[in-house]
Amino acid sequence: MDFLNDIPWMLIAASIAKTLFLIFGVVLPIVSYTVYAERRVSALIQDRLGPNRTGFPISLFGFEKDLQLFLGGLGQPIADAVKFLLKEEFTPAHVNKFYFWLAPVLAMVPALSTLAVLPFGNYLFGQKMVVADVNVGILYVFAIASIGVYGIVLAGWSSNSKYPFLGSIRASSQMISYELSLGLSAVPVLLIIGNLNLSQAIQYQIENGWLLLPFTDGNLTLRELLLWIPVLISFIIFTISMFAETNRLPFDLPESETELVAGYHTEYSAMKFALFFLGEYAAMIAGSSVIVVLFLGGWHIPFLPINTLESSTTPAGIALGFLHITAFFAKVVGILLFFIWVRWTLPRFRFDQLMKLGWLYLFEIALVNIFITAAILALVK
């Protein structure tokens, strides 16, 4: 039984605790409240009210009224979750059953798995706030995120139905096309940082200012100013590609309601449908987190002290640790609100326009942008 002592139990316990905190404590609540925010913001934009009635159901426990907080309707995500669980779990007879059930799982799991390498805070209770601090960080994110396309392809193919099938081939070609510009637009950032590890990316930005806001370290050099131009181009291409990767408007052709009913999940109902839905939002959170880590300094708050491993168990260190985690997710939520704002503002692309934008414009600009960055790095000391 010697090897039982060799198993790093403490490490396993710590990483499970971090995983559970990240997934169930932060990401899934953000997912459900992003859905709520989407409905409220869209209502705001379209001059409606949106869901503003559902409260927390304390009337079940003998109170006279349901609990309403701040905005009203904050109980809506809970009601939605219960509804998804109680609906009929129907599998049509014409589908390919195994893959029909596998597809929603494959849509959800990669989105949650990419979060493992993202540093969502500095130290807290003597632990680094990242589930796995691997040295291939950004490559892992791209590799796992691209598995998400299998969920959509399998959903459309196994449904044995016309609209899901059309939606899924559109989705697959859209997602692989925009993966090119997504991958290329990250290269200038890697050129500047010189490391694939995402914790190191944040460390670089603490020392030299956030890539998108290079003055956050208190000084601005000519080199930083020149590099800011390709970084901005990179940021714009990365964000646009992220919209396409997560099938959000203006790139929501895989599920465009007016042409394809509901696209690849037309035949799905109840929790199977909900997993696609949640998976899409979880992928949005993962994408926004990558944007925050690469361009907006991750959990860093400018001009504020940073706690260390030693000080992270003192009260001040714990407060600072929580502040950093809050800062990270505040930035993520900011980008999510931008996603929502864009969705309810822009019309949808046509498929040939979408392919032209991805292959002819974004791909070429991203490629040229890499060599501009490389030239600035070589010429300006």
């Binding site: 790093p8 490490l11 396993i12 990483s15 995983t19 997934i23 169930f24 669980l85 109680l86 609906k87 779990e89 049509p92 007879a93 014409h94 929603p104 799982v105 959800m108 949650l112 798995s113 493992a116 390498v117 589930v131 796995a132 601090d133 691997v134 040295n135 490559l139 449904s159 044995n160 139905s161 016309k162 609209y163 099938f165 059309l166 697959s172 070609s173 692989i176 096309s177 991958g183 290329l184 290269v187 890697l190 500047i192 694939l196 035949e267 929790m271 199977k272 909900a274 997993l275 040939d352 392919m355 032209k356 002819l360 791909f363 490629l367 890499i370 060599f371 490389a374 790095l377 070589a378």
Partner: protein, 130 residues
């Protein structure tokens, strides 16, 4: 022994996170399967969705060969990007140590691939209008 090596590596937490994610997805489906209201099936309910009509075509319609082309071009250019990552990581140090040769080597590599890209564009592989 292999298992022990793996357990001590940086990748164990990733495996645990993937397992938690799979567990969440599967248990959500299972709970829904157990709690969901079961109703009767009938022939209409089992047909594929078709805007209120009876489907007259097969379930999987023919689609444009362009989708295959896009997939093949994707593999080609995605490999190019994978080659760029290690180059990008060492670039800053290498340019100080070895000078501009690292810039020109990647420039020529991308140049050769760009020829293929221009050829594909000229052949109309990416033209979805025709």
């Amino acid at each position: 022994m292999f298992l022990l090596c793996f357990m001590k590596s940086d990748y164990l937490p990733i495996l645990l996170q993937v397992l938690v994610a799979i567990g969440f997805a599967c248990s959500a489906l299972l709970v829904s399967l157990l709690l969901g209201k079961a109703t009767r099936r009938n022939a209409t309910k089992d047909t594929a969705y078709e805007c209120g009509m009876i489907a007259d075509e097969g379930p999987q319609p023919r689609f444009s060969v362009k989708f295959y082309l896009v997939a093949m071009l994707f593999i080609l250019f995605d490999l190019e990007i994978v080659f760029m990552y290690p180059w990008a990581v060492i670039y800053k140090d290498a340019i100080l140590e070895y000078g501009a040769s690292i810039f020109w080597s990647m420039f020529s590599f991308v140049g050769i691939l760009t020829l293929g890209y221009v050829y594909a564009v000229k052949k109309g592989a990416l033209d979805w209008k025709s």
